[in-house]
Symmetry: C2
Subunit: 363 residues, 2 copies
């Protein structure tokens, strides 16, 4: 029986295939890791052939990452339980609405020493607070879970265009292992200990991107968009400080998962795109989701609603004018021009109070 | 003799004319201010007519802000000494290379109770440290000087597209007066006490924009550009903390003059544009300045050289890999692809150490 560590990537969409490609190459030079990397693939037929069979013979996910070869040590597996067997490192990278079912299906097959990292975006905010993917993974499997998020539009990474990402992992030794699996010259990993903060940024940035899309839809310029990005970023940070009981660190917002991802998502990305179309066409968001996302729900639109429910339940809308305006434009029929209402909020005191000095030993 | 305050705008380019338009409208509802706003105009002939005469009859700067009427209470004056006579509030908004001569020419005409605000970008960095426009104004005229900078591409403001700006003013009462002169529903002013920090951001962001232009020239995408913006922003902040002996505040970087201006300048703006052309055409920067800026010097290129001289003189290039790479690409013929060399620097500890606690009175 091998004592080597082994990776299983759960998910084989665009981002999952990109991650499998990076990890598949990296394990070849990591002596602690088995060369074989399993990828759980949701089985489907592509031109009459099984997708797993195509991946395992042609070494390419022709449906979700066409044009980019996967290393030959990456193996597609259709059965999730079989895929995770013997894996020490699980990479969760499937759409958030499928995560719970998948975790339930593999529970008995994951070894006790395994650990996970979530590349899946999407936290759930209620009036009570938030639940993140790593919390869901930890509850379902009883293993520690790290998070990965950054300015990472998947198509650009597959083309090996330089970017950065952030891994949130509480244990520095484990963080270094995850980094060794993901880091490449064109995909630069920074690690922070703030697991939740990384996930929070990955979800909330989509709300800001909806605002940025409204600006594009209104035909306004770079100054306006930069103002919306700045205010949105500071409302994100303010909400994090409020919700997280000192768990989320200010410094996380300066990492790729924070500032950089807000920027890239506000200039590229489909949240921006749909919000622009929302203004230009006057169609309802649900109709645009049907037309432009094959009926998938737009993340920023959902998160805007959830964040508002939390903010409103605590009578804090005056402190979050941008998030409130975005919510009301999305859900209550307010005109997109109202995005500017009441934005002159002072954020300059939104830093954590430093902890009080320790009592003097000479006292 | 009137006890009313009076504004003189020194400069009538694109940004100066835009500022005169905003101030000219605002003074009409400020009871403390004389309605008349003088604008010093560098006299030139436009289609055989004096520019001052055109502005004073047609209420439009047809050369530098065509298509936007100035309020009738804005008066163009060709003689700078005459323009500033009786003015209590001087708005300096001419290209930086002309500032010293202008200040020398008006020295005897500025009253002792006057104060100034600098909209002129451009600090001078030497191996000794930096000199800013407000310092130059204060030395030349002996009056207090505030600064104004933000995500403010002038053309978009003239079109009344929403944006924000930052005023740096040490005195909060004076800050409120400056704010009342500039603030409009579409031009939102935030005030900070950090005069130098506002100016520092306004100059250094141009270096980051040169880097962003290289990325565009290389045909890379949103992820890459966001990474360069993030790292550039953090190198700016690091350099500020190093140079300013605790004068510049961290929080200033979160204002419009910081984060938002870096973004807008890296997506719009001519620093980005020339740097993109530099990569795509392979021409020398001086040739591009000739072709694209009528021989004017590109600010980001100059500042990159000055910042490097400071960094290099202190053997700190390893701590500023992006600024160093941008310098070497601009001045030493390194390939633009080398912009990524050594960028994996840890910025997470770049926050000010809070001041030590005051000695306990019970000790």
């Amino acid at each position: 029986m091998s004592s080597l560590k082994r990776v299983c990537v759960l998910g084989s969409g665009n981002w999952g295939s990109t991650a499998a490609r990076i990890i598949g190459n990296n394990v070849l030079r990591l002596p602690d890791f088995d060369d074989r990397v399993n990828v759980w693939v949701y089985e489907e037929l592509v031109n009459g052939r099984k997708l797993t069979e195509i991946i395992n013979t042609e070494h390419e996910n022709v449906k979700y990452l066409p044009g980019h070869k996967l290393p030959a040590n990456v193996t597609a597996v259709a059965d999730a339980r079989e895929a995770v067997r013997g894996a020490t490192h699980l990479v969760v990278v499937i759409p958030h609405q499928f995560v719970q079912d998948l975790l339930d299906s593999i529970r008995g097959s994951v070894g006790p020493g395994a650990r996970a990292i979530s590349l899946t975006k999407g936290i759930v905010i209620s009036t009570q607070g938030m639940t993140t993917m790593t919390q869901i993974i930890h509850r379902a499997l009883g293993i520690p879970a790290a998070s990965l998020s950054g300015a990472n539009i998947a198509g650009e990474i597959a083309e090996e265009k330089y970017c950065e990402t952030t891994i949130g992992c509480a244990d520095p030794v484990e963080a270094a292992v995850w980094s060794s699996l993901f880091n490449t010259p064109y995909f630069q990993v920074n690690c922070v200990s703030d697991v939740i903060g990384v996930e929070f940024c990955g979800a909330l940035k989509n709300v800001v991107a909806v605002g940025a899309g409204f600006i594009d839809g209104l035909g306004l310029g770079n100054n306006t968009k930069a103002a919306i990005i700045r205010i949105g970023f500071l409302e994100m940070r303010r909400l994090a400080l409020h919700m997280s009981d000192a768990q989320i660190q200010d410094a996380t917002f300066m990492e790729s998962c924070g500032m950089a991802d807000v920027i890239t998502t506000c200039y590229g990305g489909r949240n921006r795109l749909l919000a622009e179309a929302f203004v230009k066409t006057g169609k309802r968001m649900s109709q645009l989701e049907q037309e432009m996302l094959n009926g998938q729900k737009l993340q920023g639109y959902l998160t805007a609603g959830e964040a508002y429910s939390y903010i409103d339940s605590r009578a804090m809308t005056d402190n979050y004018p941008l998030f409130t305006n975005i919510y009301q434009i999305c859900y209550e029929g307010k005109h997109p021009r109202s995005i500017f209402d009441g934005l002159n909020v002072d954020f300059s005191r939104d830093t954590r109070t430093p902890p009080p000095p320790l009592p003097s030993s000479s006292a």
